[in-house]
């Protein structure tokens, strides 16, 4: 299941849904948060802009791909947009499977894909001013390793 929303999400609620099937032996979650980054150039807020129709399409596609590659019982992707603050949750990926490696590996795959394939752009308001987050070349390389 995928959700693109302004509101925050509740990890326990998603955990409950993923544990409903009693054949589930393992559940993996990844939660991405806004970092304050105090040590460098303090971040005051992060505004996520997105391309709504394309986001839904890409998230569906990524989820289908994960279900092709691994034996999953359930999967959830929640991605927020709008203005967020340090400590706020941005994204949740959750996967459940009979055996742990399917859940663990697909969860990592999903978050790696989201980094470079989900049409979001992040505008950071830092101590030094506003700036669009640039492409992380490490992320582009990481996602290639999944081919």
């Amino acid at each position: 299941m995928i959700k693109v929303q302004k509101e925050d999400f509740d990890v326990n609620k998603e955990l409950k849904k993923l544990s409903e099937n009693k054949n589930v032996g393992g559940i993996s979650f990844f939660i991405g948060l806004v970092r304050e980054d105090l040590s460098k150039d303090k971040c005051h807020s992060m505004t996520l802009q997105h391309y709504p129709e394309m986001t839904e399409k890409m998230l569906d596609k990524i989820e289908i791909e994960a279900n092709k590659r691994w034996n999953l019982i359930g999967s959830i992707i929640i991605h927020r947009y709008g203005k967020l603050y340090p400590g706020d949750q941005i994204v949740l990926v959750g996967t459940s499977s009979e055996h742990r490696k399917d859940a663990i590996n697909s969860c990592e795959f999903l978050i790696d894909w989201l980094k470079t394939k989900a049409p979001f752009w992040k505008l950071e308001e830092r101590e030094s001013g506003k700036k669009w987050v640039e492409e992380n070349f490490k992320d582009s390389e990481t996602v290639k390793n999944w081919k």
Partner: protein, 83 residues
Amino acid sequence: MNIKYFSWVRDQIGLDEEQIELDPKVNSVEKLVSHLIKNSEDHSKALADISLIRCAVNMEVVNLNHKIKNEDEIAFFPPMTGG
């Protein structure tokens, strides 16, 4: 044709989206970029270095020689930073 802009491309052009009537000779993404650059100084500045920009046609990322037609939805944006 409906053209959408995101991130700093949107900021520089000063438009979320715009409608244009596509000249049939402008039949690829590359030709569309050349056409848009003539529109205004803001377009010209935003699209100057095409290596910084990605294009989606009907919500699929494509390359510059991808063919386009008037009914397509086009979007220009920098590399995505999701997750």
